[in-house]
Protein backbone atom coordinates (compact mmCIF):
# COMPACT_ATOMS: atom_id res chain seq x y z
CA UNK A 1 0.00 0.00 0.00
CA UNK A 2 1.30 3.40 -0.93
CA UNK A 3 0.23 6.51 0.85
CA UNK A 4 -0.94 7.82 -2.47
CA UNK A 5 -3.83 5.40 -2.35
CA UNK A 6 -5.18 7.07 0.76
CA UNK A 7 -6.84 10.47 0.92
CA UNK A 8 -5.16 13.46 2.51
CA UNK A 9 -7.50 12.97 5.40
CA UNK A 10 -6.72 9.26 5.78
CA UNK A 11 -2.98 9.83 5.81
CA UNK A 12 -3.34 12.48 8.47
CA UNK A 13 -5.52 10.24 10.62
CA UNK A 14 -2.90 7.52 10.29
CA UNK A 15 -0.18 9.91 11.46
CA UNK A 16 -2.30 11.11 14.36
CA UNK A 17 -2.95 7.54 15.41
CA UNK A 18 0.74 6.75 15.42
CA UNK A 19 1.54 9.83 17.48
CA UNK A 20 -1.20 9.03 19.95
CA UNK A 21 0.87 6.04 21.09
CA UNK A 22 3.41 8.38 22.69
CA UNK A 23 2.63 10.53 25.65
CA UNK A 24 6.18 11.72 26.07
CA UNK A 25 7.86 14.27 23.86
CA UNK A 26 11.07 12.28 23.60
CA UNK A 27 9.19 9.36 22.16
CA UNK A 28 7.50 11.62 19.68
CA UNK A 29 10.86 13.01 18.60
CA UNK A 30 12.21 9.47 18.34
CA UNK A 31 9.28 8.68 16.13
CA UNK A 32 9.90 11.78 14.01
CA UNK A 33 13.54 10.80 13.58
CA UNK A 34 12.36 7.38 12.42
CA UNK A 35 9.94 8.99 9.99
CA UNK A 36 12.82 11.04 8.68
CA UNK A 37 14.79 7.88 7.97
CA UNK A 38 12.03 6.74 5.62
CA UNK A 39 12.36 9.88 3.54
CA UNK A 40 14.61 9.16 0.55
CA UNK A 41 17.87 11.07 0.69
CA UNK A 42 17.69 13.91 -1.77
CA UNK A 43 20.13 13.73 -4.61
CA UNK A 44 22.99 16.23 -4.26
CA UNK A 45 22.02 17.74 -7.60
CA UNK A 46 18.75 19.04 -6.15
CA UNK A 47 20.43 20.60 -3.12
CA UNK A 48 21.01 23.87 -4.89
CA UNK A 49 20.29 27.34 -3.69
CA UNK A 50 17.28 27.65 -6.00
CA UNK A 51 15.57 24.81 -4.13
CA UNK A 52 16.64 26.06 -0.73
CA UNK A 53 13.83 27.35 1.44
CA UNK A 54 15.30 30.18 3.49
CA UNK A 55 15.08 29.48 7.19
CA UNK A 56 17.37 30.84 9.83
CA UNK A 57 18.51 27.71 11.57
CA UNK A 58 18.13 24.48 9.64
CA UNK A 59 18.43 24.22 5.92
CA UNK A 60 15.45 22.90 4.03
CA UNK A 61 15.38 22.02 0.32
CA UNK A 62 12.23 21.36 -1.66
CA UNK A 63 12.03 20.06 -5.23
CA UNK A 64 8.68 19.59 -7.01
CA UNK A 65 7.74 17.51 -10.01
CA UNK A 66 4.46 17.60 -11.92
CA UNK A 67 3.48 14.31 -13.59
CA UNK A 68 0.07 13.08 -14.78
CA UNK A 69 -1.74 15.91 -13.08
CA UNK A 70 -0.11 15.25 -9.73
CA UNK A 71 2.59 17.05 -7.78
CA UNK A 72 5.45 14.99 -6.34
CA UNK A 73 7.80 16.49 -3.79
CA UNK A 74 11.37 15.61 -2.90
CA UNK A 75 12.59 17.29 0.27
CA UNK A 76 15.63 17.38 2.50
CA UNK A 77 16.97 19.01 5.66
CA UNK A 78 20.23 18.98 7.55
CA UNK A 79 18.47 18.69 10.90
CA UNK A 80 16.99 15.30 11.76
CA UNK A 81 13.85 16.30 13.59
CA UNK A 82 13.08 18.84 10.91
CA UNK A 83 13.63 16.04 8.39
CA UNK A 84 11.04 13.98 10.22
CA UNK A 85 8.47 16.74 10.00
CA UNK A 86 9.27 17.18 6.35
CA UNK A 87 8.75 13.47 5.81
CA UNK A 88 5.25 13.81 7.25
CA UNK A 89 4.44 16.78 5.05
CA UNK A 90 5.65 14.89 1.99
CA UNK A 91 3.65 11.82 3.03
CA UNK A 92 0.50 13.91 3.25
CA UNK A 93 0.93 16.18 0.24
CA UNK A 94 3.13 14.44 -2.32
CA UNK A 95 1.38 12.68 -5.21
CA UNK A 96 -1.74 14.82 -4.89
CA UNK A 97 -3.49 16.97 -7.44
CA UNK A 98 -2.92 20.72 -7.19
CA UNK A 99 -6.49 21.11 -5.94
CA UNK A 100 -6.01 18.55 -3.19
CA UNK A 101 -2.86 20.34 -2.04
CA UNK A 102 -4.40 23.77 -2.16
CA UNK A 103 -7.49 22.67 -0.26
CA UNK A 104 -5.70 20.49 2.27
CA UNK A 105 -6.63 21.30 5.86
CA UNK A 106 -3.58 20.07 7.74
CA UNK A 107 -5.16 19.37 11.11
CA UNK A 108 -2.54 16.75 11.94
CA UNK A 109 -0.09 19.57 12.70
CA UNK A 110 -2.25 20.68 15.60
CA UNK A 111 -3.24 17.23 16.77
CA UNK A 112 0.27 15.80 16.86
CA UNK A 113 1.52 18.80 18.83
CA UNK A 114 3.76 19.87 15.96
CA UNK A 115 2.12 23.26 15.59
CA UNK A 116 4.90 24.93 17.54
CA UNK A 117 7.44 23.68 15.04
CA UNK A 118 5.42 25.08 12.18
CA UNK A 119 4.55 28.41 13.76
CA UNK A 120 5.58 31.63 12.04
CA UNK A 121 7.73 32.53 15.03
CA UNK A 122 9.98 29.48 14.58
CA UNK A 123 12.54 30.34 12.00
CA UNK A 124 13.36 26.79 10.94
CA UNK A 125 12.18 26.97 7.36
CA UNK A 126 9.31 24.53 7.87
CA UNK A 127 6.50 27.02 7.54
CA UNK A 128 8.19 28.50 4.51
CA UNK A 129 8.36 25.01 3.02
CA UNK A 130 4.68 24.38 3.59
CA UNK A 131 3.85 27.71 1.96
CA UNK A 132 6.13 26.83 -0.92
CA UNK A 133 4.32 23.50 -1.44
CA UNK A 134 1.01 25.29 -1.72
CA UNK A 135 2.49 27.89 -4.06
CA UNK A 136 3.79 25.16 -6.40
CA UNK A 137 0.32 23.63 -6.44
CA UNK A 138 -1.20 26.97 -7.42
CA UNK A 139 1.41 27.44 -10.11
CA UNK A 140 0.89 23.96 -11.59
CA UNK A 141 -2.84 24.39 -11.56
CA UNK A 142 -2.57 27.65 -13.46
CA UNK A 143 -0.21 25.98 -15.94
CA UNK A 144 -2.57 23.06 -16.48
CA UNK A 145 -5.52 25.32 -17.10
CA UNK A 146 -3.81 27.67 -19.48
Amino acid sequence: MSYHDLTVREVQDEIIKEFSLFDDWMDRYDHLIEEGKELPVMDEKFRKSEYLVEGCQSRVWLYPEFTDGKVYFKAESDALIVRGIIALLVKVLSGRTPDEIMDADLYFIEETGLRQNLSPTRSNGLLAMLKQMKLYAIAYKAKKES
Partner: protein
Protein backbone atom coordinates in the same frame (compact mmCIF):
# COMPACT_ATOMS: atom_id res chain seq x y z
CA UNK B 1 -24.53 51.78 19.42
CA UNK B 2 -27.10 53.11 21.87
CA UNK B 3 -26.52 50.06 23.97
CA UNK B 4 -22.81 50.62 23.93
CA UNK B 5 -23.31 54.20 25.01
CA UNK B 6 -25.28 52.98 27.97
CA UNK B 7 -22.34 50.95 29.22
CA UNK B 8 -19.96 53.92 29.16
CA UNK B 9 -19.57 54.18 32.90
CA UNK B 10 -17.23 57.06 33.63
CA UNK B 11 -16.60 56.05 37.25
CA UNK B 12 -15.62 52.56 36.23
CA UNK B 13 -13.43 53.92 33.47
CA UNK B 14 -11.67 56.36 35.77
CA UNK B 15 -11.03 53.60 38.24
CA UNK B 16 -9.16 51.72 35.50
CA UNK B 17 -6.51 54.47 35.44
CA UNK B 18 -4.54 54.49 38.70
CA UNK B 19 -2.91 57.89 38.21
CA UNK B 20 -6.30 59.61 37.90
CA UNK B 21 -6.87 59.10 41.60
CA UNK B 22 -3.62 60.82 42.61
CA UNK B 23 -3.69 63.94 44.68
CA UNK B 24 -1.18 66.75 44.15
CA UNK B 25 -0.57 69.38 46.84
CA UNK B 26 -3.45 67.74 48.67
CA UNK B 27 -5.85 68.42 45.78
CA UNK B 28 -7.52 65.98 43.43
CA UNK B 29 -5.53 65.73 40.24
CA UNK B 30 -7.17 67.16 37.14
CA UNK B 31 -5.14 65.68 34.33
CA UNK B 32 -5.49 67.83 31.21
CA UNK B 33 -2.10 67.04 29.68
CA UNK B 34 -3.24 64.14 27.53
CA UNK B 35 -1.76 65.69 24.42
CA UNK B 36 1.69 65.23 25.93
CA UNK B 37 1.00 61.70 27.11
CA UNK B 38 -2.01 59.71 28.26
CA UNK B 39 -2.44 57.70 31.43
CA UNK B 40 -2.45 53.90 31.35
CA UNK B 41 -5.34 51.64 32.32
CA UNK B 42 -4.43 48.91 34.76
CA UNK B 43 -5.02 46.36 31.99
CA UNK B 44 -1.96 47.75 30.22
CA UNK B 45 0.12 47.86 33.40
CA UNK B 46 -0.89 44.28 34.17
CA UNK B 47 0.01 43.10 30.68
CA UNK B 48 3.50 44.52 31.15
CA UNK B 49 3.89 42.96 34.59
CA UNK B 50 2.68 39.65 33.22
CA UNK B 51 5.12 39.74 30.32
CA UNK B 52 8.04 40.29 32.68
CA UNK B 53 6.80 37.80 35.27
CA UNK B 54 5.32 34.89 33.36
CA UNK B 55 6.91 34.30 29.99
CA UNK B 56 9.62 36.89 29.35
CA UNK B 57 12.22 35.83 26.82
CA UNK B 58 13.75 37.18 23.63
CA UNK B 59 11.74 36.77 20.46
CA UNK B 60 12.37 35.35 17.00
CA UNK B 61 15.48 33.68 18.17
CA UNK B 62 15.29 30.88 20.63
CA UNK B 63 14.00 27.42 19.94
CA UNK B 64 12.59 27.33 23.41
CA UNK B 65 9.13 27.52 24.87
CA UNK B 66 9.29 30.99 26.46
CA UNK B 67 10.78 32.49 23.33
CA UNK B 68 7.86 31.00 21.41
CA UNK B 69 5.32 32.55 23.74
CA UNK B 70 7.00 35.97 23.62
CA UNK B 71 7.28 35.81 19.84
CA UNK B 72 3.65 34.86 19.48
CA UNK B 73 2.52 37.65 21.79
CA UNK B 74 4.65 40.09 19.84
CA UNK B 75 3.31 39.01 16.47
CA UNK B 76 -0.25 39.06 17.81
CA UNK B 77 0.40 42.60 18.93
CA UNK B 78 1.39 43.44 15.38
CA UNK B 79 -1.82 41.86 14.12
CA UNK B 80 -3.83 43.86 16.67
CA UNK B 81 -2.30 47.08 15.39
CA UNK B 82 -2.93 46.05 11.80
CA UNK B 83 -6.59 45.46 12.48
CA UNK B 84 -6.94 48.64 14.57
CA UNK B 85 -5.90 50.82 11.64
CA UNK B 86 -7.19 48.37 9.03
CA UNK B 87 -3.91 47.92 7.18
CA UNK B 88 -3.90 45.25 4.46
CA UNK B 89 -1.13 43.13 5.91
CA UNK B 90 0.98 42.65 9.02
CA UNK B 91 4.08 43.20 6.94
CA UNK B 92 3.08 46.84 6.65
CA UNK B 93 3.26 47.37 10.42
CA UNK B 94 6.74 48.26 11.68
CA UNK B 95 7.35 48.75 15.38
CA UNK B 96 9.53 51.73 16.27
CA UNK B 97 10.23 53.56 19.51
CA UNK B 98 7.67 56.31 18.80
CA UNK B 99 6.28 58.81 16.32
CA UNK B 100 9.56 60.70 16.21
CA UNK B 101 11.51 57.55 15.36
CA UNK B 102 8.91 56.57 12.75
CA UNK B 103 9.14 59.91 10.96
CA UNK B 104 12.92 59.90 11.13
CA UNK B 105 12.92 56.42 9.65
CA UNK B 106 10.77 57.49 6.71
CA UNK B 107 12.66 60.75 6.20
CA UNK B 108 15.95 58.86 6.09
CA UNK B 109 14.97 55.79 4.10
CA UNK B 110 12.61 57.52 1.70
CA UNK B 111 15.20 60.24 1.31
CA UNK B 112 17.99 57.82 0.52
CA UNK B 113 15.89 56.14 -2.13
CA UNK B 114 13.92 58.93 -3.74
CA UNK B 115 15.25 62.40 -2.94
CA UNK B 116 17.85 64.19 -5.00
CA UNK B 117 19.17 67.69 -5.30
CA UNK B 118 16.47 70.27 -5.90
CA UNK B 119 13.59 68.01 -4.90
CA UNK B 120 10.94 69.26 -2.52
CA UNK B 121 9.24 68.00 0.61
CA UNK B 122 5.93 69.57 1.56
CA UNK B 123 4.82 69.92 5.17
CA UNK B 124 2.49 72.39 6.90
CA UNK B 125 2.95 75.35 9.16
CA UNK B 126 1.28 73.65 12.10
CA UNK B 127 3.55 70.62 12.33
CA UNK B 128 5.11 69.36 15.52
CA UNK B 129 8.91 69.59 15.49
CA UNK B 130 8.96 65.82 14.95
CA UNK B 131 7.42 66.38 11.54
CA UNK B 132 9.69 69.29 10.67
CA UNK B 133 13.23 68.64 11.83
CA UNK B 134 13.72 65.14 10.31
CA UNK B 135 12.72 66.55 6.92
CA UNK B 136 15.00 69.54 7.38
CA UNK B 137 17.90 67.27 8.22
CA UNK B 138 17.21 65.07 5.21
CA UNK B 139 16.76 68.06 2.90
CA UNK B 140 20.06 69.44 4.07
CA UNK B 141 21.83 66.16 3.33
CA UNK B 142 20.20 65.83 -0.06
CA UNK B 143 20.25 69.50 -0.99
CA UNK B 144 16.48 69.43 -1.30
CA UNK B 145 13.93 72.02 -0.17
CA UNK B 146 11.23 72.17 2.44
CA UNK B 147 7.95 73.80 1.38
CA UNK B 148 5.24 74.76 3.81
CA UNK B 149 1.44 74.90 3.56
CA UNK B 150 0.46 78.09 5.41
CA UNK B 151 -2.16 78.33 8.14
CA UNK B 152 -5.21 80.61 8.27
CA UNK B 153 -6.08 82.81 11.23
CA UNK B 154 -8.45 80.18 12.59
CA UNK B 155 -5.70 77.55 12.61
CA UNK B 156 -6.91 75.66 9.55
CA UNK B 157 -4.62 74.98 6.60
CA UNK B 158 -4.75 77.36 3.68
CA UNK B 159 -5.45 74.58 1.21
CA UNK B 160 -6.03 76.93 -1.69
CA UNK B 161 -2.24 77.11 -1.95
CA UNK B 162 -1.90 73.36 -2.35
CA UNK B 163 -2.05 73.41 -6.13
CA UNK B 164 0.90 75.75 -6.29
CA UNK B 165 2.81 74.07 -3.50
CA UNK B 166 2.66 70.61 -5.00
CA UNK B 167 5.05 70.89 -7.90
CA UNK B 168 6.91 68.65 -10.29
CA UNK B 169 9.64 68.54 -7.72
CA UNK B 170 7.55 67.50 -4.75
CA UNK B 171 8.53 63.99 -3.72
CA UNK B 172 6.57 63.53 -0.51
CA UNK B 173 3.97 65.36 1.60
CA UNK B 174 3.97 65.02 5.40
CA UNK B 175 1.12 66.42 7.48
CA UNK B 176 -0.43 65.99 10.89
CA UNK B 177 -3.84 64.44 11.18
CA UNK B 178 -4.53 66.70 14.16
CA UNK B 179 -2.46 69.66 15.34
CA UNK B 180 -1.06 69.02 18.80
CA UNK B 181 -0.70 72.74 19.50
CA UNK B 182 -4.20 73.83 18.47
CA UNK B 183 -6.29 70.67 18.31
CA UNK B 184 -7.37 71.52 14.75
CA UNK B 185 -8.25 68.54 12.55
CA UNK B 186 -6.45 68.61 9.22
CA UNK B 187 -8.33 67.46 6.10
CA UNK B 188 -5.73 64.81 5.34
CA UNK B 189 -8.04 62.89 3.02
CA UNK B 190 -8.29 65.90 0.73
CA UNK B 191 -4.54 66.46 0.81
CA UNK B 192 -3.90 62.80 0.01
CA UNK B 193 -6.27 62.93 -2.96
CA UNK B 194 -4.60 66.05 -4.31
CA UNK B 195 -1.13 64.57 -3.85
CA UNK B 196 -2.09 61.25 -5.37
CA UNK B 197 -3.35 62.99 -8.49
CA UNK B 198 0.30 63.72 -9.06
CA UNK B 199 1.46 60.34 -7.72
CA UNK B 200 3.07 61.88 -4.65
CA UNK B 201 2.98 59.82 -1.45
CA UNK B 202 1.68 61.28 1.81
CA UNK B 203 2.82 60.62 5.36
CA UNK B 204 0.20 61.27 8.03
CA UNK B 205 1.46 62.07 11.52
CA UNK B 206 -1.29 60.45 13.56
CA UNK B 207 0.26 61.15 16.99
CA UNK B 208 -2.81 63.19 17.96
CA UNK B 209 -5.28 61.40 15.73
CA UNK B 210 -5.14 57.70 16.57
CA UNK B 211 -6.60 58.13 20.08
CA UNK B 212 -9.51 60.38 19.12
CA UNK B 213 -11.32 58.58 16.32
CA UNK B 214 -11.48 55.63 13.93
CA UNK B 215 -8.49 55.43 11.66
CA UNK B 216 -8.68 53.39 8.47
CA UNK B 217 -5.43 53.68 6.55
CA UNK B 218 -6.96 51.99 3.53
CA UNK B 219 -9.87 54.38 3.37
CA UNK B 220 -7.56 57.30 3.96
CA UNK B 221 -5.24 55.80 1.37
CA UNK B 222 -2.25 57.41 3.08
CA UNK B 223 1.13 55.98 2.17
CA UNK B 224 2.57 56.20 5.68
CA UNK B 225 0.83 56.57 9.03
CA UNK B 226 2.76 56.99 12.28
CA UNK B 227 1.86 57.20 15.95
CA UNK B 228 3.21 56.74 19.49
CA UNK B 229 2.07 54.15 21.99
CA UNK B 230 2.28 56.47 24.98
CA UNK B 231 -0.29 58.89 23.56
CA UNK B 232 -2.86 56.18 23.01
CA UNK B 233 -2.90 54.74 26.54
CA UNK B 234 0.06 52.42 25.88
CA UNK B 235 3.58 52.34 27.30
CA UNK B 236 6.54 54.59 26.54
CA UNK B 237 9.24 53.53 24.10
CA UNK B 238 6.97 52.00 21.48
CA UNK B 239 5.52 53.43 18.31
CA UNK B 240 4.25 52.38 14.94
CA UNK B 241 5.09 53.02 11.34
CA UNK B 242 2.49 51.87 8.88
CA UNK B 243 3.73 51.98 5.30
CA UNK B 244 2.27 50.67 2.08
CA UNK B 245 4.19 47.58 1.09
CA UNK B 246 5.18 49.06 -2.27
CA UNK B 247 7.12 51.83 -0.53
CA UNK B 248 8.56 49.77 2.30
CA UNK B 249 9.82 47.16 -0.14
CA UNK B 250 11.72 49.79 -2.09
CA UNK B 251 13.13 51.78 0.80
CA UNK B 252 16.51 50.81 2.24
CA UNK B 253 16.68 50.07 5.95
CA UNK B 254 17.45 52.93 8.29
CA UNK B 255 19.25 51.02 11.02
CA UNK B 256 21.42 47.93 10.80
CA UNK B 257 21.68 45.10 13.31
CA UNK B 258 20.32 41.74 14.35
CA UNK B 259 17.05 40.35 12.99
CA UNK B 260 16.89 42.82 10.10
CA UNK B 261 19.38 40.87 8.03
CA UNK B 262 19.17 37.68 6.06
CA UNK B 263 22.84 36.98 5.59
CA UNK B 264 25.86 38.96 6.76
CA UNK B 265 29.33 38.76 5.37
CA UNK B 266 31.90 41.51 5.48
CA UNK B 267 31.59 41.84 1.70
CA UNK B 268 27.84 41.89 1.37
CA UNK B 269 24.82 41.90 3.60
CA UNK B 270 21.31 41.05 2.44
CA UNK B 271 18.26 42.21 4.32
CA UNK B 272 15.37 40.33 5.82
CA UNK B 273 11.84 40.64 4.48
CA UNK B 274 9.19 43.08 5.73
CA UNK B 275 8.56 44.17 8.42
CA UNK B 276 11.79 42.87 9.96
CA UNK B 277 13.98 44.82 7.54
CA UNK B 278 13.09 47.93 9.51
CA UNK B 279 13.25 46.40 12.99
CA UNK B 280 16.94 46.24 13.84
CA UNK B 281 18.02 44.69 17.12
CA UNK B 282 15.93 43.58 20.03
CA UNK B 283 12.68 45.47 19.64
CA UNK B 284 10.64 46.68 22.57
CA UNK B 285 8.38 43.66 22.40
CA UNK B 286 7.02 44.17 25.90
CA UNK B 287 6.12 47.69 24.78
CA UNK B 288 4.38 46.28 21.73
CA UNK B 289 2.39 43.89 23.90
CA UNK B 290 1.43 46.81 26.17
CA UNK B 291 0.35 48.88 23.19
CA UNK B 292 -1.79 46.06 21.81
CA UNK B 293 -3.45 45.80 25.22
CA UNK B 294 -4.17 49.53 25.14
CA UNK B 295 -5.84 49.18 21.74
CA UNK B 296 -7.89 46.27 23.09
CA UNK B 297 -8.95 48.50 25.94
CA UNK B 298 -10.08 51.15 23.47
CA UNK B 299 -12.01 48.60 21.47
CA UNK B 300 -13.66 47.26 24.60
CA UNK B 301 -14.60 50.79 25.65
CA UNK B 302 -15.80 51.51 22.14
CA UNK B 303 -14.24 54.14 19.93
CA UNK B 304 -17.73 55.52 19.26
CA UNK B 305 -18.21 56.05 22.98
CA UNK B 306 -14.85 57.74 23.23
CA UNK B 307 -15.62 60.04 20.33
CA UNK B 308 -19.02 60.92 21.78
CA UNK B 309 -17.68 61.57 25.26
CA UNK B 310 -14.84 63.73 23.97
CA UNK B 311 -17.21 65.68 21.72
CA UNK B 312 -19.41 66.37 24.71
CA UNK B 313 -16.44 67.57 26.76
CA UNK B 314 -15.32 69.80 23.92
CA UNK B 315 -18.72 71.46 23.55
CA UNK B 316 -18.99 72.03 27.28
CA UNK B 317 -15.45 73.37 27.58
CA UNK B 318 -16.01 75.69 24.61
CA UNK B 319 -19.17 77.07 26.20
CA UNK B 320 -17.57 77.64 29.57
CA UNK B 321 -14.44 79.17 28.05
CA UNK B 322 -16.55 81.48 25.91
CA UNK B 323 -18.45 82.62 28.99
CA UNK B 324 -15.19 83.42 30.76
CA UNK B 325 -13.90 86.89 29.92
CA UNK B 326 -10.51 87.74 28.50
CA UNK B 327 -9.66 84.42 26.93
CA UNK B 328 -8.23 84.16 23.47
CA UNK B 329 -8.45 80.70 21.89
CA UNK B 330 -5.97 79.66 19.21
CA UNK B 331 -7.40 77.33 16.62
CA UNK B 332 -10.80 78.96 16.46
CA UNK B 333 -12.66 76.46 14.36
CA UNK B 334 -15.36 73.89 15.00
CA UNK B 335 -13.33 71.15 13.36
CA UNK B 336 -11.27 70.29 16.41
CA UNK B 337 -10.65 67.59 18.94
CA UNK B 338 -10.94 68.20 22.67
CA UNK B 339 -7.83 70.36 22.89
CA UNK B 340 -8.17 73.98 23.97
CA UNK B 341 -5.14 76.14 23.40
CA UNK B 342 -5.52 79.62 24.84
CA UNK B 343 -4.12 82.70 26.50
CA UNK B 344 -5.69 84.70 29.35
CA UNK B 345 -5.49 88.42 28.70
CA UNK B 346 -1.86 89.48 28.88
CA UNK B 347 -0.94 86.87 31.43
CA UNK B 348 2.17 84.84 30.67
CA UNK B 349 1.15 81.21 30.12
CA UNK B 350 3.90 80.05 32.44
CA UNK B 351 2.47 82.11 35.31
CA UNK B 352 -0.96 80.68 34.62
CA UNK B 353 0.43 77.15 34.48
CA UNK B 354 2.16 77.57 37.85
CA UNK B 355 -1.03 78.67 39.55
CA UNK B 356 -3.19 76.01 37.90
CA UNK B 357 -0.63 73.41 38.93
CA UNK B 358 -0.98 74.39 42.56
CA UNK B 359 -4.72 73.88 42.20
CA UNK B 360 -4.04 70.33 41.03
CA UNK B 361 -4.68 71.06 37.37
CA UNK B 362 -2.09 69.66 34.96
CA UNK B 363 -1.97 71.64 31.73
CA UNK B 364 0.89 72.21 29.40
CA UNK B 365 2.21 75.67 28.70
CA UNK B 366 4.72 76.82 26.14
CA UNK B 367 5.19 76.23 22.45
CA UNK B 368 4.16 72.56 22.49
CA UNK B 369 7.14 71.61 20.32
CA UNK B 370 5.54 73.56 17.50
CA UNK B 371 7.37 76.87 17.47
CA UNK B 372 6.55 77.74 13.83
CA UNK B 373 2.79 77.77 14.44
CA UNK B 374 3.33 79.87 17.58
CA UNK B 375 5.42 82.28 15.50
CA UNK B 376 2.60 82.33 12.94
CA UNK B 377 0.36 83.78 15.64
CA UNK B 378 3.08 86.05 16.97
CA UNK B 379 3.19 84.39 20.37
CA UNK B 380 5.72 82.38 22.36
CA UNK B 381 3.26 79.86 23.62
CA UNK B 382 -0.18 79.07 24.96
CA UNK B 383 -1.86 77.25 27.79
CA UNK B 384 -3.08 73.93 26.45
CA UNK B 385 -5.76 71.86 28.12
CA UNK B 386 -5.97 68.55 26.24
CA UNK B 387 -8.87 66.39 27.33
CA UNK B 388 -9.77 62.82 26.66
CA UNK B 389 -12.59 60.42 27.40
CA UNK B 390 -11.72 59.83 31.03
CA UNK B 391 -12.06 63.54 31.81
CA UNK B 392 -15.30 65.04 33.10
CA UNK B 393 -17.40 68.18 33.04
CA UNK B 394 -16.62 68.66 36.73
CA UNK B 395 -12.95 68.82 35.86
CA UNK B 396 -13.71 71.50 33.28
CA UNK B 397 -15.49 73.46 36.02
CA UNK B 398 -12.35 73.20 38.13
CA UNK B 399 -10.27 74.51 35.22
CA UNK B 400 -12.63 77.47 34.78
CA UNK B 401 -12.39 78.23 38.49
CA UNK B 402 -8.63 77.99 38.11
CA UNK B 403 -8.64 80.47 35.28
CA UNK B 404 -10.68 82.87 37.39
CA UNK B 405 -8.17 82.46 40.19
CA UNK B 406 -5.30 83.17 37.79
CA UNK B 407 -7.04 86.29 36.62
CA UNK B 408 -7.73 87.50 40.13
CA UNK B 409 -4.10 87.05 41.09
CA UNK B 410 -2.37 88.27 37.99
CA UNK B 411 -4.48 91.16 36.78
Amino acid sequence: MINKSAVFDIDKIRSDFPVLSCTVYGKKLVYFDNGATTQKPKQVINAITEAYSKYYSNIHRGVHALSDISSEKYESARERIRSFINASAKEEIVFTSGTTASINLVAFSFGERYISQGDEVLISELEHHANIVPWQMMCERKDAHLRVIPVNDDGTLHLEDLDHLITEKTKIVAVSQVSNALGVIVPVKEIIEKAHEKNIPVLVDGAQGIQHGHVDVRKLDCDFYVFSGHKVYGPTGIGVLYGKREWLEEMPPCQGGGDMVERVTFEKTTYNELPFKFEAGTVNFVGAIGLATALEYIEATGMDNIVRQEADLKVYADERIKATGGIRVYGNTQNKISIISFLIDKIHPYDAGLILDKMGIAVRTGSHCAQPIMARFGIDGTIRASLCFYNTREEIDILIAGIEKVKSMML
